[in-house]
């Protein structure tokens, strides 16, 4: 990739013995929406913190805009917009003031900031709340304000750490719509998420992280094609039959997962699979056929274990 905006080679972050990020390589190009997908504790946030220069790298090489985060952090941050995982808005300030002070931190002129605030409030659909305090805003509004705040300096790179976690569906969709618009205007975005639909919606390219390592890389389509067959058949049986199914279904080709309440069959031809079941006189209570999604890739790569 010619002149990547962000480049990591063998990038590692250790906290004492714990390896949070384990020798990862990636390149992020200008104008791209790049995703870091992974379960909690995969190392996504640690990677974001190194890119935003607020966590020193332990080993390896990292450049942002061709600059070194260790020694040129301030020049990097001048051109960044950062949306943290947890909102850290100033609750003592109004909506517009929250934008204003960040403009000042970025050394912008007062008049420029005021003009920019008008645009950003409109973008975040908060124009009528400009002078209201932050405290009573809904979660979605606070999130949009945090995003608007990250855009005050017209950044070359916007970093969003789990932008929609904890929001209700309406708020998520509105936020996606805003991020989409940002992307269309040519912004470079880095997004971490554990929502597959979010990654599919927003990311041109993504890496899947697990236990500090990158386990897969590609566009959402490529990853689905590579790691999950085209279709997924979910079979439900009476509870008492579930145990027997492990042996009764061992003839199935491709990969099969036995969960507590259902069997998941990955297949290139769902119709054929269903036909084979009928031939062998296996009659599930319920059959659900769907296209495989990034979620299947994700679960396949990072497993179904619960991580807290």
């Amino acid at each position: 990739m010619a002149d990547p905006l962000v480049q990591a080679r063998g990038l590692t972050k250790r906290f004492d013995e714990f390896v949070a990020v384990d020798a990862v390589d990636f390149d992020i190009a200008k104008g791209e929406a790049f995703g870091f997908l992974g379960p909690n504790g995969a190392g996504k946030t640690s990677t974001m913190k190194m890119i935003t220069t607020v966590s020193p790298i332990t080993e390896g090489k990292l450049t942002v805009f061709g600059l070194d985060p260790g020694t040129e952090g301030r020049q990097i941050r001048q051109r960044l917009g950062v949306v943290p995982q947890e909102d850290n808005l100033d609750l003592e300030l109004t909506v517009a003031e929250n934008l204003y002070v960040y403009g000042r931190y970025h050394d912008m002129h007062r008049a420029d900031i005021k003009a920019r605030i008008v645009d950003l409030l409109e973008f975040a659909q908060l124009t009528d709340r400009a002078d209201s305090p932050v405290e009573p805003l809904s979660g979605g509004m606070k999130r949009r304000l945090t995003i608007a705040r990250a855009l005050i300096n017209d950044p070359d790179l916007v970093i969003l750490d789990e932008p929609t976690t904890g929001l209700d569906p309406q708020a998520r969709h509105l936020l996606w719509d805003r991020l989409y618009r940002l992307k269309r205007e040519g912004a470079t975005l880095i997004i971490t998420t554990h929502y597959m639909d979010e990654a599919e919606q927003l990311c041109d390219r993504l890496v899947v992280m697990d236990k500090g390592k990158i386990v897969a890389e590609g566009s959402p389509r490529q990853l689905i094609a590579q790691y999950a067959p085209r279709e997924v058949v979910e079979l439900r049986f009476q509870e008492e039959l579930m145990d027997a199914m492990t042996t009764r279904l061992d003839w199935l080709e491709g990969s099969t997962e036995f969960l507590a309440d259902r069997v998941i069959v990955y297949t290139d031809d769902a119709e054929a699979t269903q036909h084979q079941l009928t031939e062998r006189d296996i009659h599930p209570v319920q059959v659900l056929v769907r296209r495989s999604s990034l979620e299947d890739v994700f679960l396949k790569l990072t497993g179904r274990r619960l991580i807290d």
Binding site: V54, P56, N88, Y105, D107
Partner: protein
């Protein structure tokens, strides 16, 4: 942008937030000295002055100067504790600010500048009320404000350095219970430390508030003699407090950097 300019950006944001809460804080800056000077100066003072008083000034003047320094300590210790813990843990404002060109050091310095501005106001009000009570003359009272602000800065800086290494508010109340309140009571605010048993006098000489109280008295009470202040030259008090402020700022910045950028 220079480091000082960045610190001023922080001051600016504090000032914008302050516009919404200033009424309450201004009222308490007036009410506190009136309450303290009435109770300690007029009430207790009448009793002290009517008995054999070895002090060369009225008790009201003695305690007003002590309280000026002690108020600086209390106000500033609070500034070094709660807003700092809020920035790190409760509201996490510091975490956001350091993703802009501001650094933890800029934030610490900005907080010190802002704290000193606020404190100058609070202590000027205190000094003027002391004059109204007849405790001090106007000019020496106003001249005593900068030494009291230095006392406050020394406390704000060191309490900030302490707070950035702490995990929760329990350690903050511990600091006030076992640090600030004992200093308030035993650093010569209410009685000359010559009244203490000898070993404790030595301890008192080493405490920061003692140096603040001494410095304020030397400036605000030109008539002060050995019954009020020690023979320690003023520069010793200034160097002590200045070194404490500098150490607090340097260590506070370094430790905040470590805390925010793990």
């Amino acid at each position: 942008m220079t480091s000082l300019a960045r610190s001023w950006r922080w001051v600016e944001s504090e000032a914008i937030g302050y516009r919404r809460v200033w009424r309450g804080t201004v009222i308490s800056s007036f009410v506190n000295p009136v309450l303290f000077l009435s109770a300690m100066g007029l009430g207790l003072g009448t009793l002290v002055d009517s008995s054999t008083n070895d002090l060369s000034v009225p008790y009201l003047s003695f305690v007003a100067t002590g309280l000026l320094a002690a108020t600086a300590m209390q106000t500033s210790a609070g500034e070094g504790a709660f807003p700092v813990m809020a920035g790190i843990k409760w509201r996490k404002g510091f975490h956001g600010a350091i993703t802009t060109p501001l650094s933890p050091t800029d934030i610490v310095r900005g907080m010190m500048i802002w704290g000193s501005i606020r404190l100058t106001f609070v202590l000027t009000v205190f000094a003027v009320i002391s004059v109204a009570f007849g405790a001090l003359d106007l000019v020496p009272a106003l001249l005593a404000v900068p030494p009291a602000v230095l006392t406050g800065l020394a406390f704000q800086a060191t309490v900030t350095a302490y707070t950035v290494t702490r995990e929760n508010e329990i350690s903050l109340s511990t600091l006030f219970r076992f640090g600030i309140i004992p200093l308030f009571l035993f650093s010569g605010t209410f009685f000359p430390i010559s009244q203490l048993p000898e070993p404790l006098q030595i301890v008192a000489y080493l405490t920061p508030l003692f140096h603040g109280v001494e410095l304020v008295r030397k400036v605000a009470l030109p008539a002060a003699d050995a019954s009020i202040v020690t023979a320690l030259p003023m520069w010793v008090n200034v160097v002590y407090l200045g070194a404490m402020a500098a150490a607090g700022i340097v260590l506070g910045s370094r430790w905040l950097d470590r805390r925010l950028k793990p």
